[in-house]
Symmetry: C2
Subunit: 300 residues, 2 copies
């Protein structure tokens, strides 16, 4: 992309929540000279100081309300559970042209709230950049954090077209591939592809420890299947709570599929058991594709 001499496309950007995602976005925008001025807003002075010293933001503030008044673009990168309270707080303070987005990994509740809070067409667009790391905090922020990732972007007839284009451009400009998606569909898909797997990974690890499994028998299969159980409990508590209905639906579905398998095994229905594994293999291939690295453990 060629950056012209004209003013940067994003003007005054306010990033609320200067953690890994927020500070990385700041660094990505700064390194590409895409913003006039970036204000980092947070509750912990220490985190804000780190974000500033890394050059992720130009100035910092502990006050959401003071910071957003002159914002052209507000990015809410707080934990998911805080997005609605922040939207509620800033909505009356924003100037008319301000565009708002977020980075939460659940969307329907937030987008429903925005529907009620904004006049139509609204200038809030929900985002879910699917970039992550086991690390957290602005100290680990990097300018290429979003390079090569997918950003799921709310698609709705209620959104202002300019806002939608600008937020899509935001993510594309930091290296994401933007995929439009309906918020309810998004939440069900994420429940099945991410939230339920986190619950299962934890359940598997708990079950193995309860039965006194020893580390010597642990192979790559268990290692891979439970990898995400190492995530931060408070983050996943919030994600499950904000996506409650879809997670419950996904878990119910899963328990039904497990019961089908159990019945087949209990009755030695060898063909049904093989079919179950064959369907699992085909489904994974459909969703993930194949590559050698992915399948290094299947004969274990």
């Amino acid at each position: 992309m060629t950056v012209s001499n004209a003013s940067p496309p994003f003007g005054c950007v306010v990033i609320i929540g200067a953690g890994l995602l927020g500070a990385s976005l700041g660094l990505a925008l700064k390194s590409r000279r895409l913003a006039d001025h970036i204000i980092g807003v947070g509750r912990r002075e220490e985190s804000l100081a780190i974000a500033k010293s890394k050059g992720a933001v130009d100035s910092v503030s502990l006050s959401v309300s003071e910071s957003v008044r002159d914002a052209d673009l507000v990015v809410i990168s707080t934990p998911a559970a805080l997005v609605i309270p922040v939207l509620h707080e800033i909505r009356p303070l924003l100037n008319k042209s301000a565009i708002v987005t977020d980075v939460a990994s659940t969307k329907a509740g937030i987008c429903d709230f925005a529907d009620a809070a904004w006049p139509e067409p609204r200038r809030f667009v929900g985002s879910h950049p699917m970039a992550g790391s086991e690390k957290f905090g602005p100290e680990h922020a990097v300018p290429d954090f979003y390079e090569g990732s997918v950003c799921l972007l709310e698609s709705s007839t209620r959104i202002d077209e300019e806002a939608q284009s600008l937020v899509a451009f935001l993510w594309r400009s930091v290296g994401s591939r933007v995929v439009p998606i309906d918020p309810e569909q998004h939440d069900l898909m994420l429940a099945l592809s991410s939230h339920v797997p986190h619950v299962l990974a934890a359940a598997l690890a708990i079950g193995a420890a309860e039965q006194h499994v020893i580390p010597d028998v642990i192979g790559n299969g268990f290692r891979d299947t439970t990898r995400i159980a190492a995530a931060r409990p408070e983050i996943w508590r919030d994600i499950c709570l904000t996506n409650k209905m879809a997670v419950l639906k996904g878990l119910k579905k899963l328990r039904a599929n497990l019961q089908t398998f159990e019945q087949a095994l209990r009755s030695d229905a060898s063909d049904s058991i093989e079919l179950f594994f064959a369907e699992g293999k085909a489904a994974r291939h459909l969703l993930v594709g194949d590559n050698m690295q992915d399948e290094r453990v299947s004969g274990e």
Copy 2:
């Protein structure tokens, strides 16, 4: 290890089942000059020819009964479901000093059968070398296949001491760390650490596909959690059937843990939800330990 000028420790070795595990064992023994002569036995001439051309075996045979008569050591590396039929066939044909082991990933049924078939102390010792790959067939065999892996070795007062020492030496000499384990404990631990995770990985992939999840929303979490769903269905059918009771016990336990979580989520019991994820994280840490590579996706 210094190899003396004396005859190799394993004399005449018969490897029944010249697949990835069997042919790799042959290559490992040959490269270390640990066997006088290795006979590869199988049902498919083509596989045997590949094993021979790679130098994994010195001669080949389609007949189990003809091959084992002069064996000093027999290694059964067929699929798990065939181990007992093979034991049944060869037991009356073996000479008195012959030692037998296997490589199946379930042990109690096989070891129980050996208890009944051999006079005490028996010269059959169950092995479970935990080495694997997505590949299969002798064409992928390599001499360092077992290097750095763990081999779980049956521990029982019914086993002849010489047989136990020799089989332990076998696995150590090809690079495995040998861990003694009771066969029933083994099967329950493997159900929880490997077999149930395979069932879950398949169930997750099936659930996601049934709900029309799109590949764009798939992140590293799903990729890791379902990696083992890419395994061969017929192998996992047999493993589950041979370890039926332990797998059913593990699945029941898991469904109970999932139900606990569902109840907590349904009633917005935020502390219980966090505790569940915290217990999962602690359990995984206990069993797998931590390293950066393991946790690259936890913030997704």
